[in-house]
Symmetry: C2
Subunit: 257 residues, 2 copies
């Protein structure tokens, strides 16, 4: 199978024009088929505040009410997504911005109300991998916003990491897929106080070992569990790195063996 790289970048990177331009330049150097999944960052919260819309939280978790759904639709689906698309076109990459509703690419279920009513939040049910593969086959680079779609509820706010993982899993039927998570550090670190102590490779065995030794802890545990989940669903490898290192063959590579 041909290689494909699915790259997820956080909202912070795409929010400022300098880091965005750097990212897009790095992204353009990655050879072969690729897709970009972006977060929304704090722009949505900032714009919501300016519009007099309160960002609701329950037990430390964000709630997407009807007004906030409109804001994330504007900001993620419009402002952020289209600025990335325009920037990539200028670099000669034939980008196409997509929410989950476009071509029904990412279908989700509205999250069931249990202890918390998250509001208009979607859990991914199905990725239209055939349509995405068709687009990629035409030389198109999908640029995906963190919004999914439910036939019953319309657009739904969805975590960008999840969109990236589900997209990579689904495209593994058609491509040898590498999933790249860009985050603030150069990779998973042996020593949190040393930015250059990147762990080059993590396998399930090493993961257990590093957890028991306390080297891997906190928020990195679910991140790596998600990486292994993607690998168990057909993704070839997962790379955790910094956006500025894209294409440098650095960062932490997560593989099954």
């Amino acid at each position: 199978m041909e290689p494909l790289t699915v790259i997820k970048v956080g909202g912070k990177i795409v929010e400022e024009s300098e880091s965005l331009n750097q990212l897009l330049n790095k992204f353009s150097t990655i050879s072969g088929a690729k897709a970009l999944v972006h977060g929304g960052g704090r722009s949505a919260t900032r714009i919501a505040t300016q519009l007099g819309i309160e960002s609701k939280m329950v037990d430390g978790r964000s709630i997407t009410d009807k007004d906030m759904l409109q804001v994330v639709t504007m900001v993620y689906g419009g402002l952020v997504n289209k600025n990335i698309v325009a920037g990539l076109q200028t670099l000669g990459i034939n980008a196409l911005g997509l929410t989950g509703a476009d071509l029904s690419i990412i279908e989700s279920d509205k999250r069931a109300v249990k202890e918390i009513d998250y509001g208009f939040v979607g859990d991914v049910k199905q990725v239209n991998d055939k349509m995405l593969a068709n687009l990629i086959q035409l030389g198109i680079t999908p640029v995906m916003a963190p919004l999914s779609y439910s036939k019953q509820h319309g657009l739904l706010n969805t975590n960008a990491d999840t969109i990236a993982a589900e997209t990579a899993k689904a495209l593994s039927k058609h491509y040898e897929t590498t999933l790249v998570y860009c985050f603030e550090k150069k990779g998973v670190l042996f020593d949190e106080t040393d930015d250059n102590s990147v762990i080059p490779t993590i396998t399930p065995t090493l993961f257990e070992q590093y957890k028991s030794e306390g080297i891997i802890q906190g928020g990195m545990i679910p991140k790596l569990e998600n990486a292994f989940n993607a690998l168990h669903h057909g993704v070839h490898k997962v790379i955790i790195t910094q956006a500025s290192e894209l294409g440098n063959n650095s960062g932490t590579t997560v593989i099954l063996a």
Copy 2:
């Protein structure tokens, strides 16, 4: 050639959920290949005001400064476009939202500064008719926002009527294209005070006659001139009607003979 209908709807219709839903239902009944071009309406101005961004006018013309460009990118490319796409998907139409930057579908030149500096406004230079025709061939319904793209300047604000006309002209190489302009009246009227006095057909000869008789005047003259321009560039027919009449075979049909 197969028939294709390009429908332009104004911002007012797509702004309110009731009229939007009615429009989408009507749109879904139109048989054959189709594309929808939407305006932005007053949402952009309203949201700009709420964000503390001044809507600038010079000599009664809107100016798109950098801040306003961000707002129209959010509102036209995000809020309005994606709500239409999601609504159409729910009706079983495989919609794909597009700005001019997506797939470089609509390339434009930033309007030259003469007496007025319009700011980030684009005049359409080229429609990527082959890519659009490819998408339509795949059963996709393009939903186009009034934003074009320049390699040098990125996204640019562009009149929705122009996007619709240029798209219809370009697609006339591939389809027998009907261009439908939805506006507030049921068609071009014999008597402005009688909403039912729709002129059924206008040819160049009748246009000259009605102008000389004062039946057609004011803003309707440039609208019809644009319609004839489209016909001279390969569009099969132009229909001017009300959104609520879509699919009813009513309104004013503009043809060359």
